[in-house]
């Protein structure tokens, strides 16, 4: 039975570069897929694009493409990525420019149409998370991008694209699309699409299935995390797949690493909502068949419900933070005293806060209500939400003045203020999004 080899070249926008270079050079891949788009990345990138119409794609696109394009082109490995972010067309033009420098003849497809800001602003849609409406966001609304499915990527591959660059697409669809294209799976072959989505889900975070984010000395050992190999999926035409990695790279592919990733960011495993289907992982299972080779089976699917998820970015004020550390006997008591002082100062000086949080890092910052043990040192952290940058800066200032005005022995004060770009979602009918594929070509 026919099979294809898919590699994952990145699991987030800032991911390591070399594992993808290794995959392009010696993975004998048919496809190398880069998933680089976090929830709020597009909202931030829209602002960049407004300032410069040729910008708004992933800032590491150029570096990643330069690193893998010659080897990928030589081994006829096609590249699929959502690094187009807010401007897939400009990203495709840039990739053509890089191909030109290397003297490569290339077809680069840009998938657009995920930007549905017009649709979202023309109907006052309910917001899933808050129970509010889009109009509540007023002029703070930045962006609205629908999670597109596999279809436009399949269309681009059918048109012969060597590189497909998208904006917002459901992450597993980046992997599902080449399976549909290669094996001719129908868009209503629900169980195949479900199994393909399962494989895409396992692959989309790259190193998180090959032993990254897994090691726990004393319980779970993983060797070579500094040279972690990224995953390869060998997928058969019937959907059966093996997850593996390149020999000689660090990390491990085991039943346990695959199970952890299988449930990562999953709610009801029987209802994983995707643009093309509702995937069902409740009967999925994994089998170790050889060292670093795990067979993945049992993904299923059923028809989607007609709703397309749209990620809406909006400005949500500012967060100001200040930190300072205390050590030795009494560190916790001095940290607590410092918190009281800062709270009182913020009230006296009338800093306009809508929410505030105080933690002692080393004691309770990751889990409020943790142990009462006395650690050898703690780091006070105060964070507050404000409407303006000026107010946000005042929070860190009140922590910094603990140097000369607070408890004894405070050291290493730091302060920041950052603008908050928050994300909520709305659901729109499928037919309101209009994906488009545009092909650019270079000649050698």
């Amino acid at each position: 039975m026919r099979s294809i080899r898919l590699g994952a070249g990145a699991g987030y926008s800032g991911d390591r570069i070399e594992p993808a270079v290794d995959l392009a050079a010696s993975g004998e891949l048919d496809y190398l897929v880069f998933e680089c788009l976090a929830e709020r990345t597009i909202a931030l990138a829209q602002g960049v694009r407004q300032a410069d119409p040729d910008a708004g794609y992933d800032p590491l696109l150029e570096q990643r493409i330069r690193a893998v394009l010659p080897a990928a082109s030589h081994s006829r490995t096609r590249i699929i990525s959502n690094m187009g972010a807010a401007n897939p067309l400009a990203a495709a033009r840039r990739i053509c420019g890089i191909a030109g420098e290397f003297g490569l003849a290339l077809k680069v497809a840009a998938v657009t149409g995920d930007d549905v800001l017009d649709v979202v602003t023309s109907g006052d849609w309910p917001i899933e998370e808050t129970g509010g409406r889009i109009s509540d966001l007023g002029d703070r609304l930045l962006s609205a991008n629908a999670y597109l499915g596999a279809a436009p990527i399949v269309e681009a591959l059918a048109a012969g694209a060597d590189v497909v660059i998208t904006g917002r697409v459901a992450d597993p669809a980046l992997f599902l699309a080449p399976m549909i294209h290669e094996f001719g799976w129908a868009f209503d072959d629900w169980n195949r699409l479900g199994q393909g989505t399962l494989i895409g889900h396992l692959m989309e975070c790259a190193g998180q299935v090959t032993g990254g984010y897994f090691a726990d000395p004393g319980r779970k050992y993983v060797a070579g995390l500094a040279r972690l190999g990224f995953p390869i999926a060998e997928v058969r035409a019937d959907g059966a797949a093996v997850i593996t990695k390149l020999p000689g790279t660090g990390g491990a592919v085991t039943a346990a690493t695959c199970k952890e990733q299988l449930l990562y960011e999953i709610h009801d495993p029987a209802a994983y909502f995707q643009p093309d289907l509702i995937a069902d992982f409740s009967d999925a299972y994994v089998e170790e068949i050889a060292p670093d080779r795990v067979r993945i089976l049992g993904g299923r699917g059923r028809p989607h419900n007609g709703a397309l998820k749209v990620s809406v970015g909006y400005l949500d004020g500012w967060i100001g933070e200040g930190e300072i550390s205390y050590a030795g006997p009494g560190a916790v008591a001095r940290g607590r005293l410092a918190i009281e002082i800062v709270r009182e100062r913020l009230a006296i000086t009338k800093v306009d806060l809508s929410e505030i949080r105080a933690d002692l890092i080393g004691l309770n910052s990751l889990h409020p209500g943790a142990s009462s043990a006395e650690p050898p040192e703690v780091r006070l952290r105060i964070a507050g939400r404000t409407q303006s940058q000026a107010e946000a800066l005042r929070i860190g200032n009140e922590v910094e003045t603990l140097y000369t005005n607070g408890p004894a022995g405070g050291g290493g004060a730091s302060k920041t203020a950052r603008r908050v770009v928050a994300v909520v979602s709305v659901l729109i009918p499928h037919e309101l999004a209009h994906p488009r594929v545009e092909i650019l070509e270079t000649t050698s």
Binding site: E39, R40, E128, E129, Y213, F214, D216, R219, K220, A256, K259, E260, Q261, L262, L263, Y264, E265, I266, H267, D268, P269, A270, F281, S282, D283, A284, Y285, V286, G298, D316, I319, E355, I356, R357, D359, I361, N364, S365, L366, H367, P368, G369, A370, R381, A383, G384, R385, V420, V421, A422, V423, V424, S425
Partner: protein, 99 residues
């Protein structure tokens, strides 16, 4: 005995909802984990987060449970004031549960 002795775990986040898997190292331990690690016990273990709901899903073929913990992330990663806005450290806290 701690849950960490018999199971491993990973946390994911979507909006203001955290999901935490609990996966048995050995299949033979799964029935006992299923019996003892209830949604109610998970809520108690993570009480500091004041979640609105805790829902448990069972995946016997993986020897795993999946806990979906709503309202636990201070508004979600894009706006939370928390240091660990994703709640990524919660899996380690859950594994500290006494069995």
């Amino acid at each position: 005995m701690k849950l960490r002795d018999v199971a491993h775990s990973r946390t994911g986040d979507k909006g203001n909802t955290s999901n935490i898997s609990v996966i048995a190292y050995r299949a033979e331990d799964f029935p006992r984990i299923r019996e003892l690690v209830t949604a109610e016990r998970v809520r108690t273990q993570l009480a500091g987060l004041t979640p609105s709901t805790v829902t448990r899903f069972e995946l016997p073929k993986l020897g795993a449970l999946n806990f979906v913990i709503a309202g636990a992330l201070g508004g979600g990663v894009t706006r939370s004031l928390a240091l660990d806005a994703h709640g990524k450290a919660l899996s380690s806290i859950l594994l500290d549960m006494d069995l």
